[in-house]
Structure formats: C-alpha cells, structure tokens
Symmetry: C2
DNA sequence: TTTCTTTTTGAACGCCGTTCACTTATTGAA
DNA sequence: TTCAATAAGTGAACGGCGTTCAAAAAGAAA
C-alpha cells in the first residue's frame, strides 16, 4: 500500500507549496489586495483547487500564522537555551528575544493582527478549528517559556508565577505595540533612531522597570550592540 | 445669502449623521462585516447618497478615526491641565492618560489599526488627503503634549527633548500593545486581572523604568485606585 | 481496455463597493 | 405662480472577488 502513502505525501507537499506561494504574494501585495487568482497563478494551479486544501482565504493565513508562531517558539527556545549556557545577563537575553520577536512579527504580523481582529468579529472567519487551537497552544507555550525565564532569572523583581506572568504580558504587549508603532509607520521612518537602537532603548527602559533595584545601575550601564548574531533564515 | 449657509450647515449635519450611523454599525458588526447597505439603512438614506459625502467606505472610517483622535487630544489636554493644577505625581497622571488612551482606543482602535495597515499597503486606500493629514497632525500634537509633560516633570530621567520623545514613543507603543493584547483577547478574559489592575501594573512598571532612581521607592509604594473619575462621554 | 476514484479545471454564482442614468426637490428669476 | 437650472437623492447595473460546482482529465485497480 505504498501508493496511498505517496499520495498523502504529495498532498501535504502540494498544501505546503500553495501556502508558500500565498505567503510570497501576501508579502508583496498585502492580504486584502491579494486575490485567489494571484495565489493560484503563483502556485501554478487553478483557483478551485485551492479549496481542496484550505477552507478559505483566511484559513490560509491562519496556517501561515501557525507556521510563524512555531518558528518564533523555536527561536525563543534556542535563545533561552543559549543564554543559559553562556549565563548572559537578563537584559542581553531580552534584547535577543525582542529581536527575534521583531524578526518574526515583520512577516507574520499581518496575520496575527488579523487573527486578533477575528476575535472581535471583524470577519466571520472560517478557519479550520484545529489550526486556531494549535496556534493558541503554541503561543501560550511561548508565553510559558518566557514566564519560566522570568522566574528563574534572579534579576527580576517578580517573586512568583503570577507576578512573572504579569511581566510576560507586559513584555508581550510592549513588543506588540512597539513593533506596530515602528513597522506601521513606514519601518521607523517616522523615528530618528534605527530599529536596533529602538529595541535597545525599549528593553533597557523596561529592564529598569522590572529588575530588582540592586541591578538598576548595571542595567543602565550596559550599552548598545549587545546583539547576538542570529542565523539568517 | 442665508440659503447657501443653511445648505452648508445641512450638508455638514447630514455628513455627521451618516458618520454616526456608520460608527454604530461598525461597532456592532465590525468594519469588514458591515456593508454600505447596512450603513445606508441605519442612516435612512440610499447607498448612492453616501458617495456624495464620502469618497469611499475607507474614507468614512478615516473620518471616524480623526474624530477619535481629536477627542483623545482634548482628553489628554484636560488631564494634563488638571494634573498641573493639582500637582499630581507623574505616575498618577500617566495612569489617567493610559485610561484615556484605553477609553479612546476601544471604539476607535479598529480604525487606527486599519490606518496603520494602509501605510503598509494592505488596501489601496482612497481617503481624502486632508483627512489623513489632519489625523496625522492631531496625533503628532498629542505626542508633543506628552513630550512636554515628560520634559517638565522632574520625576523622569529623560534630560532633553530627544530623550523625552523616545520615552513618548515607548509609552505610546506600550499603550498600543497592551491595549491590543488586553482587548484583542476578548477584553481581558485571557487574563486574571481587571482592566484597571492591568493598567495600574503596566504604568507602575513603566514608571520605574523611566523615572529617576530616587523616585523608585515612591513609585513602588503608590498603590491602585489612583484613578481620577473622568467624565463619561 | 474498462471501470471506478481522485484530482483538477474554470465557468457560474452571489455578495459588495462603486458608479451612473435618472427622478425628485429646491432655488432664484420671470 | 411658473419655469428653467441646479442640487439632492435613488436604486438598478457594473465589475471584481471569494466561493462553489458540474464536468473533464488523470490515475489506480481490474
């Protein structure tokens, strides 16, 4: 029964091909400006066939968002592991996480924004339930990793899980907002500072806010160019 | 020539009526789910007439966003004036500003998000240029007021205009992200904390981040329920 | 080859933002 | 009051797009 398995593999491959084609078009034209004709042409198939693999246009970007979230989660885990080995300062780690977040959010942010919308009923989203469930669980997993990091790092004021979770939400919100502000306004052209400087500043200020006071001076002394090189994808 | 003036007033009134109708429908169904038929029915006019007053569906929400921004700017100014009279602590003021921001962003956030999108070319927006220009200038005005507040308050570390502006962007981004996180995930149902607690916590942590160290202990001592009552609109 | 199943197609459908030919109302002058 | 001229208002028609579907093509099993 090798035929059935081969067909299944092919089906998965085709699904991935369509998704990649969609990603390319979405990225160049934006989600709302992209027609399924565009996607079909890019994927070299007919429009109708798309619907054998995805329930709707929105289902496609939900799948993309899931892929993005999984990638970020992997990045996050790698960053945290590395920092544990190298005993980096919490500030150093946060900066690298922020950078990973920006990297991740730039291509996939649109999908996440639209998913946030979907909760508020912006569009009756017809997305495969499992996709949303998995997306949620991956995201919660990332948040949990961050929480553990906060709890385990001696620099932070947060004393317990609850307080750490609050800090995580704070961090997440900050990253979300700062990225939106930075990227939304024409990739920082509104600002005088570069992306790296901006991240650096943000993290430094936040660190003072959430670190124990005995670490404040240390935080304020650490300067720019703390970035680890991260593998380009 | 009283006729011309009356007509102009009527025209403006009709334009406002349509806008209010649109706002009601947008708020209950979301922007993308709202059809112009819906708006027309709510405003008790025909679809075609809408186009005598607005260039497009998107032009309508740009106008709404402008109204929202102007309201926030007024609120901000009132809050700052009041705090000057009462010599409130910077933390106290920031909390009230954050609350005003949340109040403002809840109904109008969708429009702002979509406008941010428009910069990234999500949709070829056809909006009256003047609306966008005014929106931008009102927003920059608010940011400038915040900057002045930062510079004038002795509690902050920021020494000059440039540093203060950076803090303002930080604050703005934080408010943006935290609101999106809080409101986007079902109005905070994801969190254990209430909106007020969340704002309070966020501001407190941020304050530590941007205040001079000699004010840290004071910041950490100030507790919840710092909110001024604000007039309900 | 033949039959059955799966994959693939693209024309057709319905919805919606937008336009336009047309009707109705309003105005100022005769 | 009547009459052109202009403005306000209507809703059917248009074009584009997401989605569906009947039918064709391809592939598997016999």
């Amino acid at each position: 029964m090798g035929v059935k398995e081969r067909k299944e593999r092919e089906k998965l491959q085709r699904s991935q091909d369509i998704l990649e084609a969609a990603r390319r078009v979405f990225e160049s034209k934006g989600f709302l400006n992209t027609t399924l004709q565009d996607v079909a042409k890019e994927a070299e198939i007919s429009v109708g066939l798309i619907y054998r693999y995805f329930q709707s246009k929105e289902d496609m970007f939900a799948s993309l968002a899931l892929k993005g979230a999984e990638q970020f989660d992997k990045d996050l885990e790698a960053t945290l592991k590395k920092s544990l080995r190298k005993k980096s300062s919490a500030q150093h780690v946060l900066i690298n996480i922020a950078k990973a977040f920006f990297d991740f959010y730039s291509p996939y942010g649109e999908y996440f924004d639209m998913l946030l919308y979907s909760y508020k009923g912006l569009k009756q989203v017809q997305i495969q339930g499992s996709t949303l469930t998995r997306l949620m669980s991956v995201t919660l997993g990332s948040l949990d990793k961050l929480k553990t990091f906060i709890v385990d790092s001696p620099e932070f004021r947060a004393k317990n899980d609850d307080e750490a979770l609050q800090v995580v939400f704070l961090l997440w919100g900050i990253l979300l907002g700062c990225h939106k502000l930075f990227d939304g306004s024409g990739r920082g052209h509104l600002f005088a500072f570069s992306r790296e400087d901006f991240i650096d500043q943000v993290v430094q200020q936040i660190m003072v806010g959430i670190a124990k006071s005995e670490h404040h001076s240390q935080v304020l002394e650490e300067k720019n160019s703390l970035f680890d090189e991260r593998p380009t994808l």
